[in-house]
């Protein structure tokens, strides 16, 4: 304990944390645990209209995991308040696949908030 309590007061850490949270409020969310057989179109059909967003990426299921196979989607919203409406709507929402299996989706902030430029990004690889 001595090593820890002899450090400078932790106000700094907290302040930094606050600052971080204030300046860059998270806007990228992930919809997890979607049915593995779902396609991007089916997803869009079921959740549209999606509020203003500048990034959306649907990820197909990764079958190398065996039993825990799901699709997921990342959406970056433009307006903070839309996130909560979207979450209200789809967190815990039950998606049903073609065979009638039920999947309870989870809506969360994406742990990685970076969006990354789209494939047609500005820089071309000269190779």
């Amino acid at each position: 304990m001595t090593a820890i309590s002899s450090k400078p007061p932790d106000s700094e850490k907290k302040r930094e944390k606050e600052k971080k949270e204030k300046n860059v409020a998270p806007t990228k969310i992930v919809v997890r645990r979607l049915p593995p057989s779902m396609t991007e179109e089916e997803f869009l059909n079921q959740v549209s209209p999606i509020p203003d967003h500048d990034y959306i990426r649907f990820v197909k299921a990764d079958y190398s995991l065996g039993q825990d196979v799901f699709c997921r989607a990342y959406i970056n919203f433009v307006h903070q308040e839309d996130i909560f409406i979207f979450q209200e709507q789809f967190d815990g929402y039950v998606f049903v696949d073609t065979k009638g299996n039920e999947y309870i989706a989870i809506v969360e902030f994406a742990p990685n908030q970076k969006v990354g430029m789209q494939k047609d990004g500005k820089r071309k690889d000269p190779k």
Partner: protein, 279 residues
Amino acid sequence: PDTPQEAKRERPPLHQYIRKLIYADLNKTNTEKILRQIRKFNWDDPEVAAYNVKCLKNVWNLKYFNIRYVASLLAGLVQYHDWVGTEIIDSVLEDIRLGMEGNNPKHNQRRTAMVKFLGEMYNYRLVDSALIFKVLYSLITFGVMMDPEMAWNSLDHPDQMVRLRLVCVLLDTCGQYFSSGSSKKKLDYFFLYFQRYYLFKKSCFASEESFPLGISSMVLETLSILRPKMQILEDFEAACKGVLKIEEEFIAILREKMPEFMQVVAQEGETDEAGLGTI
């Protein structure tokens, strides 16, 4: 012997080539050269790009030691294809999370490789320290019950050691860089919570000797390498006291700086330092 021959999957030549480059050839001396090869692929073709991303992400197919060179490759690649970094980081984080939710011992190797990869990505500046700490805290809090009875119904049984191992792997990989400024302090705090988690596990065993020796030496080694002067806590109660003490300090500061905020928190009964940010 008459063992039935397993149907061998024949992959298209391009896939075989990608796999050979990343899984077989990649090593310390040829990272640059392989990066050039990978850049030459037709990244405008969504199928080729997706296969490349998949191979780069599935680092459990590599020799454990070589995982670092995939992070190096990726650091080179994001200069030209920024989105690849995002996709891979997102996938790695999802994999780590699903690993905790599924909690299948069969995937322990894979989970270890993924966490190692995340640490290496920090070393190559593909992710920031905030993300590493998010994962560290989620490993010791997500679905964790610090109650000997309830823990058996949780996602993290008292006798499961995999998360301790994952934390140690992550810290052994990149913890050495949390040595100054705010990340240093963050690691000091994390160690308090981590010791509480570790000592809780230990307290679930009938005696000191029945706890796996390999695990306790692994944990103590990680702690002592990163913070040689830190006093190691003795038991679960001491760790709880330590955590309580700094949480009270936090709350006192918050009360001082943001009185309105604290009122809201008090109503919601939120606790400090949650794991991955669920909404």
